[in-house]
Symmetry: C2
Subunit: 368 residues, 2 copies
């Protein structure tokens, strides 16, 4: 397993060297975890010309570190409680021959960047940009295995909820119940705050669970995901409460379902990000719901629940095999409610059977 991390670091080091930087400082936590195996709180990773060092802040008793950290890394725990490991990393480079250090300017604050510059005034600070984020887009099979387990856990938690009595329970309670079940089934935690939306709230993107109770005739939309060994998936489903959905509910559901299916079917290697978005968005626009649509219809998942690629109208780039993405259109009708249907899938070549659906809970309109 350790070799996986070493290989990721070697690839990044090659890229840095090609850009004329002998060293790189990784500070964004998900990037540190990707390259080091684990990311103790506040730790930064220094990719040096000779060796790689994980620098951790001094915490409590004995400088507790993360058991998953690659043991090929040198580990340094700061001597003082107030020091910044990023500044210490730059300081450690000062006596060396390294002339330039690439840093994550999209993550480091202006104040930290300046502190690094002060401690190592002769070091030229370059921008690493989103090199690590780009490297993270295509997943290896070990990462996909974690996502697959995370999706199974989310499916199980959701499946159990559907077997329980829902009418009369609040959105908040249902969300907490789902999170408890995620952990029951082996998640390290929820991948993001679970969203449960009922009645007029249903179908709203990013709805915060409220004290509204589930009522007969409601749409109920749920969005949840599990974090399994750091890898995060997402599933979103909409149900109807009671035995007889209204006509408008059936129509709206079928429309969003058709849009979501179109998006899933567009997931082939070398499809443009914007083309997948277009495939999902077009049926909704054609039905007159273009105005209220979210700015994107899906995104990458991995060590973060929201990472590249973005499936959006102006997104540049093309899908590769082994890129996990969500496809999750939704329509919300103010005052009435709406529908969201969201899956996590892995892009696969058609020869391998096409996109691999990780979240397998049915997308039929269930009346609960």
């Amino acid at each position: 397993m350790s070799d996986v991390f070493a290989a990721r670091r070697a690839r990044l080091r090659d890229r840095c060297s090609a850009a004329g930087n002998a060293a790189a400082l990784i500070s964004r936590p998900a990037n540190v975890r990707y390259l080091a195996g684990g990311a103790p709180h506040g730790a930064v990773l220094l990719l040096g010309p000779d060796e790689d060092t994980l620098l951790c802040p001094r915490t409590h008793a004995g400088g507790n570190t993360d058991g998953r950290v690659d043991d090929q890394l040198r580990l340094t725990v700061l001597a003082t409680a107030t020091g910044d490991p990023a500044v210490a990393a730059a300081g450690a480079l000062t006596p060396s021959a390294v002339e330039s250090l690439a840093v994550e300017e999209h993550h480091l604050t202006v104040a930290r960047h300046r502190a690094i510059g002060s401690v190592a005034p002769r070091l030229r600070l370059a921008d690493l940009g989103c090199a690590v984020e780009q490297q993270r887009i295509v997943k290896d099979e070990g990462e996909i295995a974690c996502l697959r387990i995370a999706a199974e856990i989310a499916d199980q938690a959701l499946g159990e909820l559907l077997e329980s009595i829902l009418v009369g329970r609040t959105e908040r309670h249902l969300a907490l119940e789902l999170e408890r079940r995620l952990v029951d089934h082996g998640a390290d935690g929820p991948a993001f705050p679970t969203a449960v939306a009922t009645g007029p709230n249903s179908g709203r993107c990013g709805h915060h669970p409220s004290d509204r109770r589930v009522e007969e005739g409601d749409f109920l939309s749920v969005s949840l995901g599990a974090d399994y060994r750091g890898y995060r998936c997402l599933i979103g489903r909409t149900f109807v409460i009671g035995t007889s959905p209204a006509d408008w509910q059936i129509e709206l559901y079928e429309l969003v379902f058709a849009a979501q299916r179109a998006g899933r079917e567009a997931l082939v290697p070398s499809a443009g990000y914007r083309d997948v978005d277009r495939a999902t968005r077009q049926p909704l626009e054609a039905a007159g719901h273009g105005e209220g649509l979210a700015p994107r219809t899906g995104h990458g998942v991995g060590l973060e629940i929201d990472e590249d690629p973005q499936l959006a109208p102006a997104a540049m780039g093309k899908l590769d095999a082994c890129v996990p993405v969500t496809v999750g259109p939704g329509v919300h009708l103010p005052g009435r409610g709406g529908v969201r249907i969201d899956d996590t899938l892995v892009v696969r070549p058609e020869a391998d059977g096409g996109p691999e659906l990780l979240t397998i809970t049915t997308k039929e309109l269930l009346a609960l």
Copy 2:
């Protein structure tokens, strides 16, 4: 209520003007919330010479905003989904007579700072520093009322847990149960991830709940808090499982309890931060536990669960009345476990009865 926020902004504006900056851009979410009443995701606050504007990213349907936002603010929702409100704020200043803009260099990334500079090249960017954080240290009675309710909620959740059967349940389950109870009692959510540590894990600072089950004879240490209208408190307690605590458990408990009491008693207006830390730390050091102690024994709470002041050996500054802080020493004996006892209190003058204890759950050693 709205006038509270306007007064906070007026105070900050005075401070900025005195430093020669006619405008300030607030980007750190807790600071935006403090000054604007609410902080929609990604929003920034522009304090201008004439009017104050909250700039929000475009989100989904209709540019949803936060209902708590002060209605004296001008509200701008960006036209595009990819724009940065901080950059838009600087752009909006360009045609005005404003020559310099103070920004939060400890929060803005290098990349965002540069983007602001590019859109408004004639604007001089100054550093606001931690001016808002400093303004947040002393709380008004409205803020303290929120903290008081948050503490009551945490006390209730903890009290209910103590009445249930604990042996055989995992740390993870107990933590989730506590979080559910926090929400049951009216919390907007947990103030931070609830920590439950049993047996050899007990007393460890920042322990992540594991699958270890509570056993007879264990120490059980719990740290939780509620978020009530954005204000966050903290309570930590340690219990013993079974009817007869071992001698070492009683001794260790009494030691940590004495240290925590000494810290609480040191909370008087104009006491040095380091002196409070010293009062808490000294009994533990005298008993030979100096090595493994955490770098600090308490900290401020408010819109963030961990804010200034820091109660630590090298901290500079003195307490004021109406500053809420935690006092929470802990000792962990590797392989055996340990004790943490943590309260949230508000510093008050002795004439007003001394420190106000917000978290009132008993600190007697309970055998459960």
